[in-house]
């Protein structure tokens, strides 16, 4: 048996890599617990963007001059780095997009338009983010297809028996969130992929939340598409990734037309560029891609084992601390979870808790987390969501507990 013991994460040192932690918020130490929404940026990411703009900037693919050539090479290296990061064998299967939302829209629109017909079914889950629901509603409406929804149990987990019954020969596509943004549930995506593969159905996994908490291997997952946003992986906003199997991407029509995605254009007939360029119309977010490259280097430099161990410690402390607060309900208690916690407190609206926490310098999300169907399933209009990352400390978690107790004093007191 091999026991892997990573050196523990040096959180004090890690926090020094993130300039944001040098500032205060409302006169208080910043306690940033909104990582499921977006993550803070390490200096290495900021420096990658900055040095590109200061010393290496030109558009890619078009110039015969050195700067453009360098920029193109850096962009290609970023793509190859992403491919390696998610276990993709072929960098041409990595399409840069704006983020998860655009990635899902691209597949729902392009694959849906070319493959869905009246009477077909697309299967999603009750815990999807709105970006995993609405694009498929649009695609289904256009084709006369039907959207079916795998229910969620009281624990906040996928009902796999229902999924098994729902995925039939009528199913043409399965689109599933890998880790729930609202409750942190880590879904048994391999099992769902296996259900789909019995019928040869393609599966898209929404990796927006999964991407920052552990290694992803698309081949091991067995999915056909995997999407994520850079900004949830400590990279800049406006850059994201759609990975898809070449055979599927090749058979899909372009999502957007324009420059860079063509082979030849005439008014009679236009032919398209090969993958991945067919899906990258117009000038892309070059600096964002370089920032994402730097973010991946940064995270892997810390080691996933060390990150996971630290996040497990934080999550366990948070769950213990919160469970001890009278009147507090944890919404969803999945057995396998990322460090994302949704909670409500009896008689106090989540927005009021969010405001009291804000006054203490604590940033959480209060609302429906773009998962209204899941909120409805749990019978709450909104929750307070605390989501942790590797730069959080036990002190941050304790501040959350104290802040919620303070809210209870204010509103019950």
């Amino acid at each position: 048996m091999i026991v892997r013991t990573a050196a523990p994460l040096d959180v004090v040192r890690v926090r020094r890599d993130f300039p944001i932690f040098e500032r205060t918020v409302r006169g208080k130490r910043l306690v940033y617990l909104d990582n499921a929404n977006s993550t803070q940026k390490p200096r290495a990411v900021l420096e990658a963007e900055r040095s590109f703009y200061e010393r290496g900037y030109a558009n890619i693919h078009r110039g015969v001059y050195l700067l453009s050539q360098e920029a193109t090479e850096a962009y290609d290296r970023a793509r190859a780095r992403v491919a390696g990061f998610i276990g993709a064998k072929n960098p041409a299967e990595v399409v840069f997009v704006r983020g998860t939302t655009e990635g899902i829209n691209l597949v729902a629109s392009s694959w849906g338009r070319s493959h869905l017909a009246a009477g077909d079914e697309v299967v999603v889950s009750e815990m999807e983010h709105h970006s995993g629901i609405v694009p498929w509603q649009l695609a289904c409406a256009a084709a006369g297809a039907r959207l079916r929804v795998i229910p969620v149990t009281d624990a906040g987990e996928l009902d796999l028996d229902a999924a098994s019954a729902m995925i039939t020969p009528k199913t043409k596509f399965v689109s599933l969130i890998h880790v729930s943004n609202a409750m942190g549930t880590i879904n048994p995506v391999r099992e769902v992929v296996d259900l789909a593969k019995r019928h040869g159905i393609p599966v898209l996994l929404d990796g927006a939340q999964a991407i920052s908490h552990g290694p992803i291997d698309v081949e091991a997952l067995g999915c056909d598409f995997y999407v994520f946003s850079g900004h949830k992986l400590f990279a800049p906003t406006g850059i994201g990734v759609l990975w898809g199997r070449a055979a599927l991407l090749d058979a899909m029509p372009p999502y957007q037309g324009g420059g860079n995605m063509i082979h030849t254009v005439t008014f009679e007939k236009t032919t398209y560029a090969p993958l991945p360029f067919k899906f990258e119309a117009g000038t892309v977010n070059i600096a964002g891609a370089l920032g994402l490259h730097a973010a991946i280097d940064y995270v892997e430099g810390l080691s996933w084992d060390a990150i996971a161990a630290h996040e497990r410690t934080l999550l366990a402390r948070a769950l213990d601390r919160l469970a001890a607060i009278p009147g507090l309900t944890l919404q969803g208690k999945p057995a396998h979870r990322a460090p994302v916690i949704s909670l409500t407190v009896e008689g106090i609206h989540p927005h009021d808790i969010g405001t009291v926490l804000d006054a203490e310098g604590i940033a959480v999300r209060a609302g429906h987390h773009c998962a209204q169907p899941l909120m409805a399933r749990f019978g709450v209009p909104a929750t307070v969501r605390a989501s942790l990352s590797f730069y959080n400390t036990l002190e941050d978690v304790d501040a959350l507990g104290t802040g919620i107790e303070r809210s209870i004093e204010v509103f019950r007191g």
Binding site: H349, D352, T355, A359, A366, G367, P381, A382
Partner: protein, 150 residues
């Protein structure tokens, strides 16, 4: 913490815990439904208007402390007022919430409603404080369309 006490003043907390006029009146000449999709707050405002005077005004629904207190205090402030007085109060209330924080809070006819001046420090909460008032306006217009803050 001073900002927080400015926002959640005692009067606001009191109204949020014990909302006034939380009922449906027997006579209703206008009603409207309002919601804030961002936080799930939802309320219905009922009015009984006769000869240009608000004879009765009440509400039902649920929301955060700010939206609940605002609905409650709005109904207290407007009962017995003329429609013109009600409109004037809405204008002043709106000004109170949107004036730059470094300016003194406009008082005008606001009376107790001036306790909402702390909301200015928390711009995302302005919609919470104005939801009831926008809904009232729809109820007076007998506008059947639901009000949304988004």
């Amino acid at each position: 913490m001073s900002d927080l006490r400015d926002l959640y003043q005692e009067v606001i907390l009191d109204h949020s815990k014990r909302p006034r006029n939380f009922r449906k009146p027997e006579t209703v000449t206008g009603e409207a439904h309002g919601r804030n999709p961002l936080c799930g707050d939802t309320l219905t405002v009922f009015v009984d208007v006769k000869d240009g005077t608000i004879k009765d005004i009440a509400w039902e629904g649920h929301g955060c402390a700010i939206s609940t207190a605002s609905a409650s205090m709005m109904t207290e402030s407007l009962k017995g007022k003329t429609l013109a007085e009600g409109n004037n109060l809405f204008e002043w209330f709106h000004r109170l919430l949107t004036a730059p924080p470094d300016l003194g809070a406009p008082a005008g006819p606001l009376g107790k409603l001036a306790v909402f001046s702390g909301v200015r420090e928390f711009p995302v909460r302005v919609k919470c404080a104005t939801l009831a008032w926008h809904t009232l306006r729809a109820a007076l217009d007998r506008d059947a369309r639901p009000v949304s803050t988004e």
